[in-house]
């Protein structure tokens, strides 16, 4: 019987070794993880179909299928009210919930791994406050960076500022995770202060518009908006998924990562830019939907572990479900009034999150 601390004399790797515990358990874990992701994806699909039938205009699943099928086949439905509700009011909103939820959760997951900070999410980088500042400029003063671009372009451009500042600073000195986060937070304060200053001098109508924008809503997302968000999100998530292994390695410390062949400093900046682009495209159309980006990755980490290869897709489907359900609640809980979805994500996500933290005796992060 060998003691646990003793290290045996090296043995050369055998040409073929029998399938043993480690490889079996790796495979069963792999299957478990894929199963979780698939189940979430199926739930997401079912909930979204159900969600289309909800609302003041009564519709059945059959109607929904009928109109979607007809629209796909190119039947002209422009005179049909029910079809209009399904195709132009509910569907874009529901798909927006799925895409935005997935996008924000992926950004959060990548951000946390890369910064080695469990509190990091796209908004910690000042993306939301930047976007809010840009939106306020447009709403209150009518200033547009690109003529005709309105709130969306303004919000998008300002949301990119923190990332550009970090990029610029990294030319001067090394951009460490701490520096990036502190930089994001200080910009957040600056932007928020400016926005509040604007709000002081604004008219009540403008104030209400800025406020609505700041809590986030999926109500105004159109098909064409959705196309833009989806393309950017898809491209961004494919890139982040390819980088999943590098994200894992960044988590073990910069020196170790470099000696494992990851150019940490450069890679961190590139991933930050990608995340910013994705988050900014979501935020500028929907306003600031909080909490999904922070909480979804943590909940998924409890189930799947910290391996980004699974964490990224897992967070994506979970974030989609979270935002979808939140939006469903937001649409129906005090119908016909529609609440901003940002309020619901926080109210729903907060308690779930706390329950999971308390229930889970094993620490998943520190």
């Amino acid at each position: 019987m060998k003691s646990n601390t003793e290290i045996s004399i090296p043995t050369l790797p055998a040409e073929t070794s029998p399938e043993t515990n480690f490889r079996l358990s790796y495979r069963s874990k792999f299957l478990k993880r894929v199963a979780f992701i698939s189940v979430c994806a199926i739930i997401c699909f079912i909930v979204s179909l159900y969600s289309v039938t909800l609302g003041s205009y009564g519709l059945t699943m059959g109607d929904v299928f009928h109109y979607i099928a007809q629209a796909i086949m190119g039947v002209d439905l422009s005179e049909n009210n029910a079809a209009y509700v399904v195709l132009n009011l509910r569907l874009p909103r529901i798909i927006a919930a799925i895409v935005c939820g997935a996008a924000l959760a992926i950004c959060g997951a990548a951000m946390q791994s890369m910064m080695k900070n469990p509190l990091a999410d796209p908004y910690t980088m000042g993306i939301s406050s930047g976007a809010g500042f840009g939106a306020a400029l447009a709403i209150i003063f009518g200033i547009e960076f690109i003529a005709g671009g309105g709130i969306i372009i303004n919000a998008f451009i300002c949301a990119l500022i923190p990332a550009l500042v970090i990029l610029f600073l990294s030319k001067v000195r090394r951009a460490t995770p701490t520096m990036m986060i502190l930089c994001g937070i200080s910009l957040m304060y600056v932007f928020n202060a400016m926005t509040q200053l604007f709000m002081l001098v604004s008219s009540p109508d403008d104030l209400s518009a800025v406020y609505t924008w700041m809590v986030g809503s999926l109500a105004d997302v159109s098909w064409s908006d959705l196309a833009i968000i989806s393309i950017i999100t898809l491209a961004g998530s494919i890139y982040i998924q390819i980088m999943a292994n590098q994200l894992n390695i960044m988590g073990i410390g910069d020196e170790s990562a470099k000696t494992m062949g990851v150019n940490v400093d450069r890679q961190r900046l590139i991933i930050l830019m990608v995340i910013t682009l994705v988050a900014a495209s979501v935020v500028s159309f929907t306003g600031v939907i909080g909490f999904v980006g922070l909480v979804a990755p943590h909940i998924v980490r409890i189930v799947l572990g910290a391996d980004n290869k699974f964490l990224i897709p897992g967070s994506a489907v979970f974030g989609a479900v979270l935002l979808l359900v939140s939006d469903m609640v937001a649409r129906t809980i005090v119908a016909p009034t529609m609440l901003p979805v940002g309020v619901i994500t926080a109210c729903l996500g907060g308690p779930i999150f706390m329950y999971l933290i308390l229930r889970n005796s094993k620490e998943v992060w520190s």
């Binding site: 090296p10 791994s113 292994n245 988590g251 073990i252 020196e255 470099k258 062949g261």
Partner: protein, 255 residues
């Protein structure tokens, strides 16, 4: 066989010269220990070898190719590094932590071969019982073994360790030193490590490089390097060297 040649290397942090005109060659597969007092440039030297730091002057070559021409990824296929402390914010299992070391070779897809290499190392380092444990819940000695295992699954030709045994007890230190010595010969790799304990070094190292004021003070076998005079000159303490089983053993004297 891989050979590393350090030619006239100097390094300074801001204006402080840490390494001065160091020339060394590593050509045989064995366990080489770098010793010397604190702040003498041991860690700086190994970090120059694995390119975490860039020398101000001189060159380091691997098989005649200059280190700066390698990409980080190419270098990581040939050289692994075990830092003296590790941190991990998010939890992962021990086997996942070791599997990370396969990154330079495998990239995105984890192949069956990757899993087999990991499995072999887990077996070799006797980590079976820990494989499913949480990496962050291990003791210092266990963590160190896992980090060494992670370095070994990189299948390096050169393994560099920065004081891997500094917070381990005597038994663990000896186990790791004995293991590394055997491993370097069986697997035909070069193991270069920074070490503090003179007697453990003297017992297990095939070659000892003693550094003093940023220069190589002595270089050779334990008998050649561990002398009363060298220890007095480098560490400024008096000692008595006795012979234990054919190896020099250092006894520190009070004055």
């Amino acid at each position: 066989m891989t050979s590393i040649k350090i030619d006239d290397v100097s390094f300074s942090y801001n204006d402080v010269d840490v390494l001065k005109d160091i020339s060394l060659e590593f050509s045989s597969s064995n366990l080489t220990c770098i010793i010397g007092p604190n702040g003498v440039g041991k860690t700086t030297l190994v970090k120059c070898i694995n390119r975490l730091l860039k020398p101000n002057k001189g060159s380091i070559t691997i098989d005649g190719e200059d280190l700066s021409t390698f990409s980080l990824l190419d270098l990581s296929k040939r050289m692994a590094f075990v830092p003296n402390s590790v941190s991990s914010v998010f939890s992962m299992s021990v086997s996942e932590a070791i599997l990370m070391g396969r990154y330079p070779h495998s990239g995105w897809v984890t192949s069956d071969y990757d899993l087999r290499v990991v499995e072999d190392i887990i077996h070799t380092m006797n980590l079976e019982d820990l494989a499913d444990r949480n990496f962050r819940e291990l003791s210092a000695g266990q963590t160190q073994r896992v980090v060494i295992a992670r370095g070994l699954v990189q299948e390096p030709e050169i393994l560099i360790l920065d004081e891997p045994t500094s917070n381990l007890d005597v038994k663990h230190q000896m186990d790791i030193m004995k293991f590394l010595n055997n491993y370097s010969k069986n697997m035909n790799i070069k193991v270069i490590m920074v070490c503090h304990d003179l007697n453990i070094t003297s017992n297990f190292a095939d070659r000892i490089i003693m550094m003093h004021n940023g220069r190589v003070f002595a270089d050779g076998t334990a008998e050649q390097v561990m002398t009363e005079e060298n220890i007095r000159n480098v560490y400024g303490v008096n000692s008595k060297i006795i012979d234990v089983d054919g190896r020099p053993h250092v006894i520190m004297l009070k004055d």
